[in-house]
Amino acid sequence: MNVLIYLIPMALGLGLLGLLAFLWALRSGQYSDVEGAALRVLSDDDIDSGRGNGAGGGI
């Protein structure tokens, strides 16, 4: 069962990666307006007007 020696740390590492991704998303303000983000994705006015408002991006 020696394979466990590196499989388990790998599994933990992947989980940790997910945790860090969430913490990054939280820190960059992506959870401050969850309803708005769902609607902004449908808006396409940044394509033709060229005034790009960078929908979804952090501030």
């Binding site: 913490l23 939280l26 902004r40």
Partner: protein
Amino acid sequence: MSETLDLSLYAKPAADGTLGMDVAVEGISCGACIARIEGAVKRLPGVSEARLNFTNRRLHVAWDDGLVKPSQILSAIEAVGYHGYPFVPLRAEQEEAAEARRLLRCLAVAGFAAMNIMLLSVAVWSGNASDITPETRDFFHWASALIALPAAAYAGQPFFVSAFRALRARTLNMNVPISLGVILALGLSVVETINHAADAYYDSALMLLFFLLVGRTLEHAMRRKTRTVAGNLAALKGETARRFEGDELVSVPVAALKPGERVLLRAGERVPADGVVLSGRSEIDESIITGETARRAVKAGATVYAGAMNYAGTLTLKTTAAGGTALIDEIERLLDKAASAKSHALRLADRAARIYAPMVHATAALTAAGWLIAGSSVHDAVVTAITVLIITCPCALALAIPAVQVVASGTLFRAGIILNAGDAIERLAEADTVIFDKTGTLTLPDPRVTNTGEIDPDLLQMAARLALSSRHPLAIALSREATLRMPFNAATEEPGQGVRAKIAGVEARLGSAEFCGLADTPAPAADASSIYFVYGTQSAVIAISQKLRSDAAATVLALTQLGFEVLILSGDRNAAVRPVARALGVARWMGELKPAEKIACVESLKADGRRVLMIGDGLNDAPALAAAHVSLSPIAAADLTQAQADAVFLGERLAPIVDAIVIARRARRLMSENLALAAIYNTIAVPVAILGVVTPLIAALAMSGSSILVTLNALRARRSGARP
């Protein structure tokens, strides 16, 4: 508007040299609104950023100083069909936002740890049932410990800190048994891991933290949501005042007024701040302050209070410091007294914790003693005692009440009730007596036309449309009847007399009796004000006075059917209260009450063992609201009064009150059910634990099972208030 509005109070400089402002926006209904509002604001010169937060309906704007004025930003929002007003974010709101992020971080850490430990634990459990080697098991246990200990130290902080505070204050709350359970479970697991034992409880400890943090996070999010809505409503009132700067008049937000400034107040406007009249004569309506509907004549030297409506003439005021005036001081003194006398009703959750914690700890101690007497080793006795503590760790109990509160406050929110206090639901469910204030609570906050039935509908519509051209309070009241909100062209206002216009070539006049040539027509009712209208040969006398809310009678009836005794306590004259009480079928009423007398009434009812629900809006009601068991305020109430109320209801109808009581009573029943469920869980789990046959698998199943059961039961509070 023609005058300049100076909103520099709200513009805050940012680090990059731009100015920033937060605007509460009203009327946002769909995703397209985001682009429309942001686009309109971004088109202004100098605006570098406009971002609308759809969740809390707030727009953040940043611009370069000098290129655009804050008032132009508001005009741009108005121009695309929305209404916005800036606000200064409250400190409390910022702190709550930080707390919400902290809880989410804790939740994420606990979730990550619980999932990964469960992964390892399932392997150990199945291995224990088959052929796992002790070395592999130790490896899995140590890996679990490596995740669990730091994760619990981080994610458990909200509980540990609160438990520590409670212990230092020599009391018990639900966090004490939670913290103790988590710490003991982890400690026992480490000891057992060192001893190469088969069982460890890392998974239970982390799963417990995860479930509890889910509850905390939801509870916090709900509180924040209601606070944001309340903040927006307050901002959108957008109260401005006209301040003299030198000889010039500048419109400023009321929040920018300081004591000692001169303010101009026209007819139809509310007094922006407490002050003394410097010049001018007028009549003011102080019903929001005293409940008295008769108007008071004021002239130079008179004191006026914020919120009073100026009816007749233009006044110049000098603002004075808030407080320092006899009435406000009296109310603040009464408020302090009421707050200190208020019996701190112990919340259901704390009451449960105080019974539960000592019982659990005594059971654990007895278990250890019992096993020692029965001849088992010290190690086995202590392990069994700790498993008792782990399995009784009040996961279900700690979720039982918050889960219901979260769901019920969401239901209340949809019914138009915004909670100020978290435990208001419990207290609302216990109330058995309702006291209504009259003015502004049973009646609409603004006067209305009361004799619509006696006037030809076409004529009334014409008068109402003509009234749109006037700023006189009576005309504003009349204009609310206009279904078509279009003023007539070329309507001219004769100050102090009325408005006139040519409608289809015929002269129409609206105003005083003399102005309309109707001086010898009798006034319709003694307690109403009248406004006269002539159109060619047709004429009408329109009576305007305080009008009952449309469903006041139905609400009083519904409350009576729910078993409440209904009372009316008013600061208004008896002659004005009597017809209202008669119309509503309320037998117990009193008028001409001072704030102190209202409190005395509430106190005497409390002394009779009544749980009083007080509903009021005026400044004079604030002390009685604070003294009552639970209190409600309409959204149009005075600010100080709203701050005292446990909950605020929106809209022009009283129906939310009945909904609130029905929802609160159902929530209270669900809370008791949940506590009973948690108790049943314990009566089954504890004997099993005492016998020493609990394995980590049983502990994990029992804990998650009971938590999910309690949460599902709480979801039943979602049904809205129509039926009990």
